[in-house]
């Protein structure tokens, strides 16, 4: 029980009269990838917003490594090791590519505190942040564009940069919200490699994505949302044969 990394328990979210999420529960085991799929408006992004604390749950609880995070602020959750990307790219346009990643790498954890006050350690810390950022830059293949303004990158590279920024925070759990949207074939291949590399690093991934091929290839398990309810939970194979899922995507047989 206690080995699960993330546990979502009976979560509800209302927007006025609209029920965006209703009684959603699931667990995520460490070092696995969970795909989250469902038609548009199913509540996938809302689920991400609840887990990362961007908006509060109306009801229910969310646990990360056994600690309840549904009452924490978004930046506190990020410091615990939960990082995310956004459906619509949200980069820091006042900073260049490298600095965007450095913002991620300089995330303040409590254990870092001494490093930021002792002058000698502060230099070492600066060095560490820079080294780490350059590593990440290489991983996402943008080392030749370190000093570019992010808005001058093609959309695919902006998406990769956003993932890089999240990876720089050294997360335990990474939430990717439609990372492949707007990417060309080459970039999707790159993305898939990054996802596999990320998994090798022992990072657990939550993936919202509409490209079924990608989701099926990288996910260990998949949950399906429809109208705010979880309608299926299983391995990619099981999901592909699930009648409720097929009905949700293709419509009920007459």
């Amino acid at each position: 029980m206690s080995s699960q990394l993330l546990a979502v328990e009976d979560v509800y979210r209302f927007f006025g009269g609209l029920t965006a999420l209703s009684n959603v529960s699931f667990v995520v085991m460490p070092q696995t990838t969970l795909g989250v799929i469902g038609p548009n408006g199913a509540g996938k992004t809302t689920l991400f917003n609840l887990i990362t604390g961007v908006i509060p749950c109306s009801q229910g609880k969310i646990f990360f490594k056994g600690q309840q995070i549904s009452s924490l602020e978004d930046y506190e959750i990020a410091r615990l090791g939960v990082s995310r990307t956004f459906q619509k790219v949200q980069l820091f346009h006042h900073l260049n590519v490298l600095q965007n990643i450095m913002v991620g790498a300089q995330i303040q954890r409590r254990s870092d505190f001494l490093n930021t006050v002792i002058p000698g350690k502060r230099m070492a810390e600066k060095e560490r942040i820079l080294r780490r950022s350059l590593e990440i830059l290489k991983l996402i293949g943008l080392e030749h564009k370190a000093h570019f303004a992010p808005e001058n990158l093609p959309i695919g590279e902006q998406k990769l940069l956003e993932i890089g920024r999240s990876l720089a925070t050294d997360p335990k759990l990474l939430l990717l919200d439609e990372p492949a949207a707007g990417l060309n074939d080459y970039e999707i291949e790159m993305l898939e490699q990054i996802i596999f590399r990320t998994r090798q690093l022992g990072i657990t991934i939550l993936l919202v994505e509409h490209r079924m091929g990608l989701v099926m290839r990288v996910s260990d398990r998949i949950i399906v949302l429809n109208y705010g309810k979880k309608i299926a939970d299983g391995t990619p194979k099981e999901i592909q044969q699930d009648s409720a899922v097929i009905a949700a995507y293709l419509g009920e047989k007459a």
Binding site: T52, V54, E73, D74, Y75, A78, R79, S83, R84, F86, Q90, L91, F92, H93, H94, L95, Q99, M102, V103, G104, Q106, I107, Q108, T116, R165, T169
Partner: protein
Amino acid sequence: MNDLRKSIAFSSVALLLICVIPPFLQRINYSYLIGILVIIAIYGIVIMGYDLLLGFAGQLSFAQIAFFGMGAYGSALMTSKYSFSPVLALALALLFSMGIAFIVGHIIMLRLQHIYLAIATLAFGEVFSRVLTGFPSFTGGAVGVFLPPFSVFGLKFDSDIKFYYLVCIMAFAFFMFSTNIVRSRWGISLLALNSDEQAARCMGINTSKCKIQVFIMSISYASIAGSLYAHFQKFVVPEQFSIVHSIELILMLFIGGTRTVWGGLIGVTILQVLPEISEWLADYRPFVSGALLIVILIFMPKGIIGTLIEFWKDRWAKSSGSGK
């Protein structure tokens, strides 16, 4: 190491310049310009603080002049009515301003954004100037308050020249502080907050804390500058701190260029020196500065310094690119 050497070289040149300007001006019989340089340095301090808040953190506040006035009136009242020493008065006025900024920050900054923040701070500035005129028994009303000259441990700054050296050293210290802090982790967090607050929070940045910190920091610049200003003018009246001057601050900052530290200094210099060039420019000052801002926003949206920096960066990129 290279950075350190550069900044030592820069500091020595800047300090040397600061030292030789007054004797030079006296030599050519332009010593009245020293008074203008003092005003430039004082406004320069306010604007460098304002750049942190508006340029780097992207929080539009019209309350800056009110805190400038708070420093000025704090010093004036404490030195003239209670005969505190000027340094103590400056420090207490600073603490008071920071306290008010802390409270106002929590009420206004954390709840309001963008245009609503601007309007709320505008209201705060207006309330402050009403308080100045509304309690004449305490603040002297429209007549204002007179102050003794500034002094540190018996060392009196009672002439323009002496005051010039005092404020220039202060402005230089603030400049060095600003340039260092904007390159720090905190400075980068401010730019992240300015770019996308939600994303910044998801990167573990406590943006609420950042906003309060940068607000209090920018207010400290304003308050200290205000105290110096009061001692230099030797009197304070409410009219010096009316909301119109807040708009002037924005003009100066945007003409020079935001997010550069340098920009504000150039902006304030231009707007202070222009009226000295001709009487016509002096008479139509608001018109001239407004027109100048429009021209600059259209042709150099990043301000004078911002555009220059961009220009040099481009050249540098091209020359290093062709070298490969």
